[in-house]
């Protein structure tokens, strides 16, 4: 298992989430001797060149054929292998949607599908590679687990946890390089168990993915204005940690969800679906990307264009809070 030394945390951040995946992969055969990794012509992008040299029998590059990759991975799972499969998030979710639905969802075959470059992380490549619907695709499929780590340290945690996790899962990896650090030290990560990062009675931000960092910064900005803002890292979007949410409904006066994903069908949708079952819960502000295709741009530019930087998040919350309070 990988340790959270200062040097490691810095290295992971500098590698970004895809590089961190590749580095973490080096240790997977020790965690699960049945480990195989498939990639659709993204060995290099997935940071898997070292893995390919160290474990040539464990890496299968299937070429630019994502549907085939998901089916192959499912066939290998059925023969008892522990299989990760990597491609860009848009192709993992949208292009492979039917093989994922039938093989991983319906049959429950435990492929760990890794969607790289999620959100805006390869935003300069334009809307074909800007993945803002993948959470919606994946969480709509029965049996799927959906994980979106807050930083590269959590990526390490999630990959290691998935190595022995029996069911099918989608691991959403994105963010900028260097990747902002949420976790400077070790902590307990459990699939399906959200983590409270910050206390605060007035407002609770429930965030997922790289914008957990922006949410923490936004909470600090709001604190300076006298608002007490809690932050929860909902790293697993499915199954949703409904226990922690019940606590939020009971204590906060405003629930805010923040995600680098469409406002349709993502974390905001998941929380709203859950919250709507209970009367008297606090109102919800869904912060995410509006329903459009942003033009090409670098990571920071797109966060700003879509209102996902810390000051923008803080302003949006403050504006809603004035209507609630």
């Amino acid at each position: 298992m990988t340790t959270f030394t200062r040097a490691n945390v810095r290295t992971w951040s500098m590698l970004g989430s895809a590089g961190t995946f590749g580095l973490t992969a080096m240790g997977l055969p020790d965690i699960n001797p049945e480990t195989l990794i498939l990639t659709a012509d993204l060995r290099n992008f997935s940071g898997l060149d070292r893995f390919a040299s160290a474990h040539p029998q464990r890496l299968i590059n299937v070429g630019i054929a994502e549907q085939n990759m998901v089916g192959m991975a499912a066939g290998l799972c059925n023969e008892g292998f522990s299989v990760f499969a990597t491609t860009y998030a848009t192709f993992a979710a949208a292009r492979s949607a039917d093989p994922v639905r039938v093989n991983m969802g319906y049959m429950g075959l435990g492929v760990k599908l890794v969607g790289l470059g999620a959100g805006f992380s390869v935003g300069v490549l334009g809307p074909t590679h800007i993945s803002l619907e993948d959470i919606a695709f994946m969480r709509a499929i029965p049996n799927m687990t959906v994980i979106s780590p807050a930083d590269c340290g959590e990526t390490v945690k999630a990959v290691e946890a998935l190595a022995t996790y029996p069911g099918p899962a989608y691991l959403r990896l994105g963010g900028g390089v260097p990747h902002p650090v949420v976790y400077a030290g070790d902590y307990e990560f459990r699939i399906g168990r959200a983590i409270r990062l910050r206390q605060g009675q007035d407002i609770t931000i429930v965030a997922t993915g790289p914008v957990v960092y922006e949410s923490l910064e936004a909470a600090k900005l709001l604190e300076a204005q006298g608002l007490r803002v809690g932050v929860i890292n909902m790293h697993t979007i499915k199954p949703l940690d409904t226990d922690i949410l019940q606590g939020v409904y009971a204590s906060a006066r405003l629930v805010v969800t923040v995600e680098e994903h469409s406002i349709i069908g993502g974390l905001g949708g998941a929380v709203a679906e859950h919250k709507s079952q209970f009367p008297g819960t606090p109102p919800q502000l869904i912060i995410g990307v509006q329903d459009y295709f942003p033009h090409a741009g670098d990571y920071r530019h797109l966060l700003t264009e879509t209102g996902l930087t810390a000051p923008q998040i803080a302003r949006a919350i403050q504006s809603r809070w004035s209507a609630v309070a």
Binding site: L36, Q57, I60, V62, G63, A65, Q67, N68, M69, V70, G71, M72, A73, A74, G75, L76, C77, N78, E79, G80, F81, D98, P99, R101, V102, N103, Y106, M107
Partner: protein, 279 residues
């Protein structure tokens, strides 16, 4: 002469095929107004009879036996022939067979994964089975299992799916000699002749150009089928089986209306009488 081609084996397969056809009609009849996929099931009968009675190594008493052969019905709408074959092989009882498509059955209109009943994978969405076969074949090789083969049965209409060709390229690239694809080339799909809907002429040549070794046979000729299934070559093998959709039932043969349709009791009685078999 190859042992599988002996008269006794041919006769066994012939009788099995007859029983399977009758079972398909019985299953189809009891679906009533829901109807069933008759045409694409009947075209498969000889292929399935040969696979389950002579070619494949399967054991209903040990359905997860690691050295079994793996079968994948990629054209899931051929389910009736699959289930009829599973009955012949001892995986499914006649009573279970007659629950086909009922609300509580495990025998769905398209196969639903059920390893203990001999159903390796779910299917129904066309073009996905060969990728499962490629993964399975690689997995067997990684386990050092040189006994088992993987059989994937597809339709010619199904080959319109691009994912089939991703997997075709992949199987050749990885040199999967333990993988056998069968194309049930009945020439008809939902909306009419395959040639009119999406022309796939030159089927064997297409597969050969992808690096497969292709054999073309009469898909209703037991001896030709048995011969084609003999031992692995040095490439993945595709057997292009020329078949007749609705084979064995005069008014269903080559009739697109019987891709999916309802069979009446009167039609069934007439067919049963004409075939001289017990219903």
């Amino acid at each position: 002469m190859k042992p599988s081609l002996c008269l006794e084996n041919l006769q066994t397969c012939e009788l099995v095929a007859q029983d399977m056809r009758q079972d398909i009609l019985r299953m189809g009849l009891q679906t009533g107004l829901n109807g069933a996929h008759f045409g694409g099931g009947l075209s498969l009968v000889e292929i399935m009879a040969v696979l389950y009675k002579s070619v494949m190594r399967v054991n209903p008493a040990a359905p997860r036996w690691p050295e079994r052969d793996r079968f994948i019905l990629s054209k899931g709408h051929g389910a009736m022939a699959y289930y009829a074959a599973l009955k012949q092989a001892g995986f499914v009882t006649d009573e279970e067979l007659m629950t086909f498509k009922s609300n509580q059955t495990f025998l769905y209109g398209h196969p639903s994964m059920n390893p203990d009943k001999g159903i390796e994978f779910s299917s129904g969405s066309l073009g996905l089975g060969l990728a499962l076969g490629v993964g399975t074949a690689i997995g067997l090789r990684k386990r050092g299992n040189n006994q088992s083969r993987v059989f994937v049965l597809m339709g010619d209409g199904e080959c319109g799916e691009g994912s089939v060709w991703e997997s075709a390229a992949s199987a050749a690239h990885f040199g999967l000699t333990n993988l056998v694809a069968i194309i049930d080339k009945n020439g008809l799909q939902y909306d009419g002749p395959t040639r009119d809907v999406l022309n796939m002429d030159g089927m064997a040549e297409k597969w050969e150009s992808f690096g497969w070794q292709a054999r073309t046979v009469d898909g209703h000729n037991l001896a030709e089928l048995l011969d084609a299934f003999e031992g692995p070559g040095n490439q993945p093998t595709v057997i292009v089986a020329n078949t007749v959709k609705g084979k064995g039932v005069s008014f269903m043969e080559n009739n697109p209306a019987w891709h999916h349709n309802r069979l009446t009791q009167a039609q069934f009685d007439e067919l049963t009488a004409a075939r001289g078999v017990n219903s």
